[in-house]
């Protein structure tokens, strides 16, 4: 048993217990009266007792926080300041934007313009006090194409549906038929034009869900013949002969457990059982880089929302931060006591959340590699994470079928969402953060009222002061809907820019 790392962890590190001062003193007195020195020694040796002042917690409060491999997180662990605010949106002139809309509906013109300007203005003028410095983490410069994409995004955002308890999103379900090879990962691009699936037979397949087919760039010799000055050079470099609805990327030699599109849709990352992360070009549909560092299976990989950086985590218990142009990791985040099962970037790209098989969620600062938050409370390995779009909250889902909501700024659990009966593989907030969607192995998509869940906490000062959780009795009140598919586990969820919910899963009968 000497080789077992988990056991080693138990031996070397102390189990953390949080006890109120009164309880601690009672325990101490009791043991001294009974002369139970042995037990006292054990406590001294193997337990770390984190004492806090004030009222002892109720049993349900303790239960809700327990479950992690190494006990609860210490109070100090969650003390550090986290800049959870969003970065300032780069100023982009939106000149052409309104022209066609004006032509379309002249009546709606004055109404439509106003709110847009307001929302834009408020973002750019006021600097969020909780936001990190704009250049805290060097981010890649925006290219022209990125700006175009941003403009598209804004356009779409104006057509976005306001969601709420009375206005539930429509759900479109993408089923991967005949997935005998076992669908293991799915990702959808931000603009919902491409879907990629990772399979147990170590292939990655990319589909186009728009009428635009996938085309590869012409070969080098053909490219040299093209007139580079021409207007439609971007169109000319594409090889029409390769157009098809889906492409298969071969390269891994183990099941592909995680995939992620780059925000600009030019690249795709995939990680696999073979211990590598691969970067694929969606222009040529070939592998560009093979990042080796994890020697064990890599469970998850994700691009930063600003591109360039990406993160991976796997069986070796280390999360790594990479940049696409470095073949070695920039940061290594060590601290988890078991496999890192999922990783997510904070919307401002300054932080990284990792969920682990040791049943904790950790938030890491990318700048200095510190672990700023440890969230305990799950009773099983965590398989999904999602940041709210405003960056304040984090949702996590685990094999125990529960979704937990966390306040990042204060380091608190806010809510526990019970309802699923199996592992939750997908979590996603709607674009405006009103609704949280969760997808699970139990073949259901459930919608939760995120506004209501977060509202309670904002007003509740008491919880914030003591750090105790007050979970509402019935989290089902937050549930807005349950949608069952026939026999398809939901393994990915995605809100389009107009707040249409896309769900994806593989349908395979025998296994």
């Amino acid at each position: 048993m000497r080789g077992n790392e988990t056991l080693l962890d138990f031996r070397t590190s102390k189990f953390v217990l949080r006890i109120s001062r009164d309880s601690y003193q009672l325990l101490k007195r009791h043991l001294q009266e009974r002369q139970n020195n042995q037990i006292w020694n054990i406590i001294q040796e193997h337990l770390y007792i984190d004492i806090f002042d004030g009222m002892p917690r109720s049993k349900s409060q303790i239960d809700s926080m327990s479950g992690s491999l190494a006990g609860e997180a210490k109070r100090e662990a969650n003390k550090a300041k986290v800049f959870y605010g969003l970065l300032k949106e780069p100023e982009i002139e939106v000149p052409l934007d309104d022209e066609d809309e004006e032509a379309e509906n002249e009546e709606g013109k004055p109404k439509k313009k106003k709110p847009k300007k307001d929302s834009m203005g408020s973002k750019s003028k006021k600097q969020d006090p909780n936001a990190p410095q704009q250049n805290r983490i060097p981010l890649p410069e925006l290219k022209d194409s990125d700006k175009l994409d941003k403009i598209m995004y804004m356009k779409e955002a104006t057509k976005r549906i306001r969601l709420g308890p009375d206005n539930l999103p429509s759900i479109c379900f993408y089923t991967f038929l005949n997935a005998y090879q076992g669908l293991t990962a799915v990702d959808i691009t931000d603009d919902s034009s491409l879907i990629a699936g990772g399979f147990a037979d170590s292939t990655v397949r990319v589909w186009s869900v728009t009428p635009r087919k996938l085309r590869a760039v012409k070969s080098a010799t053909d490219l040299s013949l093209i007139d580079k000055e021409s207007e439609d050079v971007l169109e000319r470099i594409m090889d029409e002969k390769t157009a098809s609805e889906s492409k298969i990327l071969y390269g891994h030699n183990g099941p592909v457990y995680g995939i992620s599109f780059s925000p600009d849709r030019n690249y795709l990352l995939s990680c696999s059982e073979d211990g590598t992360v691969r970067l694929w070009s969606l222009q040529t549909f070939t592998c560009l880089v093979c990042y080796k560092g994890h020697n064990y299976p890599v469970w998850d990989v994700q691009f930063s929302p600003h591109g360039y950086y990406f993160t991976s985590g796997g069986h070796d218990r280390v999360a790594r931060l990479w940049a696409t142009d470095h073949y070695q990791p920039l940061r290594m985040f060590a601290g988890h006591l078991a496999d890192i099962t999922c990783t997510r970037f904070h919307p401002n790209s300054n932080y990284l959340a990792t969920g682990s098989a040791d049943r904790t969620v950790r938030l890491w600062d990318i700048l200095n590699g510190n672990c700023n938050r440890i969230f305990t409370g799950h009773k099983g390995p965590i398989h999904s994470l999602a940041f709210s779009p405003n960056g304040k909250f984090l949702a996590s889902g685990a094999t125990d079928g529960r979704v937990l909501l966390w306040d990042i700024g204060r380091g608190l659990m806010i809510e526990e969402l019970n309802g699923h009966t199996d592992t939750i593989y997908a979590l996603k907030f709607s674009r405006d953060g009103e609704i949280l969607a969760s997808g699970s192995m139990d073949n259901t998509v459930r919608l939760w009222d995120a506004v209501k869940a977060f509202d309670d906490i904002e007003t509740d000062d008491f919880t914030a002061a003591t750090g105790h959780v007050h979970l509402s009795e019935n989290s089902l009140e937050l549930q807005l809907g349950t949608y069952t598919s026939k026999s398809t586990p939901v393994i990915h969820l995605h809100f389009t820019r107009r707040n249409l919910l896309l769900a994806a899963g593989g349908c395979y009968s025998p296994f």
Binding site: T175, L177, K379
Partner: protein
């Protein structure tokens, strides 16, 4: 949920005997008890560790079932060479066997005939992965399309209609009200399951969306329209579409009104179409019609017993409609009759009453008899056969007496053939031999002699069928012919087990052809969960020896009762003849489910050697069983619980 699924702390440790057995198989003879204990602890720990790691791969593979590949990857993590060649098509590749007070799990390795593999056509290339999109929900409402599960499951419709009070009990309101939030009450029925139980109001409203109204219009038009292709399509849709629950009341009213009108107008074609609609509705697996039977049953019964169903009763074949409707009636009796509604007894009463009525017309009489006859042999026996002589004289009066009308004559003919058809099969089963024409006449009157010839025919057919049944059972129950060498042709074929009684031929040598020439094979299905592996002997010679024979491979050194695999040959078949309690002669003719059987129970351990089971089994067999080919042809492997082996 989380609490329930949390694994219980377990401290299962492999038994030390296994360690010894494994050591023996490795060539280590004497292993001390202490080292066995240490080893078993270590091995158990390692196995658990690997299982835990394999679970991780299962979770990340987004599966609920652990696969052999997960174990392989877990071994790879530990830098251990994976186990090659353990890919299995089935979930659990092990077979279970019990006998002699022991239970064994073993890895079945069937004998494969290479020529068969070469000769079989290539399997179809599996389809490529493709993407399919459908609406799981539209603005919070789940549309009723085939891709989505039916809005209200059949069980629920059933409980709703059979136990209406249960729905409003306060204790039933589990999580219903919460789910309904945010949707209009009218839509509520489309949605989650629990909600419907709680909302009484929602159950009574059946609002149709515009699409549904269009669909209803299209379907009803197609069903009674003139285009047969369209009708087939529409009926297919009714029979399979999962989202029809909302439209059921409309459909049932449509049918009942349609029958009402068309009976008056004697429109036979339309009546047939409407009955086909009823059939389609009944065939739909997602619908439970109980609530609409009050409309449907009168319509169906009308089609059975109505005096006149068509304009030209002497020309049109309205008898077929009566037969069809009678079958429908029987089907709904079978499905929906409960102690509460007493459908079957009420229907039976209705039929009997008009059957007993002297003035009943031939058409109605025909319908009554058909309706009763479809309800099963018991009804025929108690209600129709006693009436045979009365009906017979009535028929006689028409056919031999002065010609009244052509219509009556046709009617009498049809009633006669109907009676003969249904009664003959029942009489053939119940009446003892011999079939004497005169005896029949005294018993059944005018119809007696005709009945007699029909019964004789029925008996002959039954005998023929029994023979066929016998053959099919032989082949069907042999999905894995490990023993019989001559049966390579049927390997891998498994069909639904016929519930027929297995009639074992008394002859010792069964022609091989019967085994190979299987009935046209039903599509290959996953083999039923096999718990037993029993070889039944039919050999008369073997049956006389009633002691328990245990056979073991000649080279095997370890005692048979030990579970350890022998070191020399890993194959160790134990053949045991169990005392069946009766002689083989009885077994040969026995037709009851409790027929005593002589059983060979073959318990075999995984074999690594190329030795075939058949060969190793036959070589040490006592002389009484005869040479190998005889055993092969006369013994059957039966993996499913055949009635004869039910004692095990």
């Amino acid at each position: 949920m989380a609490e329930e699924r949390r694994p219980k702390p377990c401290s299962v440790i492999l038994p030390t005997e296994s360690m010894k057995a494994i050591a023996e198989s490795m060539g280590v003879g004497q292993l001390q008890e202490e080292s066995c204990v240490a080893l078993s602890e270590e091995v158990s720990y390692r196995i658990k560790e690997i299982a835990q790691d394999a679970l991780k791969f299962m979770h990340h593979g987004k599966r609920r079932k652990l696969m052999t590949s997960d174990i392989d990857y877990a071994l790879k993590l530990k830098n251990v060479e994976p186990l090659y060649g353990f890919q299995s098509q089935e979930f659990i590749p092990f077979r279970f066997a019990s006998g002699g007070g022991r239970e064994l799990h073993f890895y079945e390795e069937k004998e494969v005939d290479l020529s068969d593999i070469i000769n079989t056509p290539l399997p179809r290339v599996p389809l490529d992965v493709s993407l399919k999109a459908h609406w799981l929900s539209i603005e919070g409402v789940q549309p009723a399309i085939p891709e989505n599960p039916p809005p209200i499951s059949k069980e629920q419709q059933k409980t709703e209609s059979t136990e209406p009070l249960k729905a409003v009990k306060p204790g039933q309101e589990e999580e219903g009200p919460i789910q309904g939030k945010g949707q209009g009450a009218a839509n509520a029925e489309n949605k989650g399951k629990e909600k419907c139980v709680v909302r009484m109001k929602a159950r009574s409203t059946h609002e149709l969306s515009v699409e549904q109204q269009l669909y209803y219009k299209e379907i009803t038009e197609a069903c009674v329209g003139s285009c047969e292709a369209k009708r087939a399509e529409a009926l297919q849709s009714i029979a399979t579409d999962p989202g029809l629950y909302q439209m059921l009341p409309r459909f049932s009213t449509f049918i009942s009104e349609g029958v009402r009108v068309n009976v008056v107008q004697n429109n036979l074609a339309l009546l047939i179409y409407l009955m086909r609609m009823v059939k389609a509705l009944m065939d739909n697996p997602t619908l439970y019609l109980e609530k609409y039977l009050h409309e449907l049953i009168p319509a169906v019964v009308t089609c059975i017993v109505s005096k006149q169903l068509c304009l030209r009763p002497d020309m049109d074949n309205h008898w077929a409609l009566r037969d069809f409707a009678a079958r429908l009636m029987a089907q709904s009796c079978k499905t929906f009759s409960t102690t509460n509604n007493n459908i079957q007894s009420r229907i039976t009463k209705t039929f009997t009453k008009s059957l007993l009525d002297e003035k009943t017309q031939w058409t109605t009489r025909y319908g009554c008899i058909a309706g009763l006859a479809e309800l099963g042999p018991d009804v025929i026996k108690t209600l129709i056969i006693p009436r045979l002589s009365v009906e017979g004289s009535r028929i006689k009066a028409v056919s031999e007496g002065p010609v009244v009308s052509n219509i009556d004559k046709i009617g009498a003919d049809h009633v006669q053939s109907l009676l003969l058809k249904h009664c003959a099969s029942v009489i053939a089963k119940t009446r003892p031999l011999p079939d004497n024409s005169d005896q029949y006449r005294t018993d059944y009157g005018y119809l007696g002699p005709m009945l007699c010839s029909h019964v004789v025919k029925a008996r002959a057919q039954a005998a023929l069928q029994a023979q066929q049944v016998n053959r099919t059972t032989l082949t069907i129950t042999q999905p894995r012919p490990t023993l019989t060498l001559s049966q390579g042709g049927v390997s891998g074929v498994s069909g639904p087990r016929t519930p027929n009684i297995i009639k074992v031929p008394s002859s010792l040598t069964l022609p091989v052809q019967t085994l190979v020439s299987a009935r046209p094979v039903t599509p290959t299905q996953p083999s039923p969960p096999a718990t037993k592996y029993i070889v039944m002997s039919t050999s008369a010679a073997a049956a006389t020896t009633q002691q328990v024979i245990t056979l073991s491979s000649a080279r095997s050194t370890s005692p048979i009762t030990s579970p350890a695999p022998s070191s020399a040959s890993t194959m160790q078949p134990l053949v045991k003849l169990e005392h069946g309690g009766a002689s083989a002669g009885a077994a040969a003719t026995g037709a009851g489910g409790s027929r005593p059987v002589q059983k060979y129970i073959v318990v075999s351990l995984p074999s690594a050697a190329s030795e075939t089971k058949g060969a190793s089994l036959t070589s040490p067999l006592p002389a009484s069983s005869g040479p190998a080919p005889v055993l092969d042809s006369s013994s059957k492997t039966d993996r499913s619980d055949s009635p004869g082996a039910s004692g095990h």
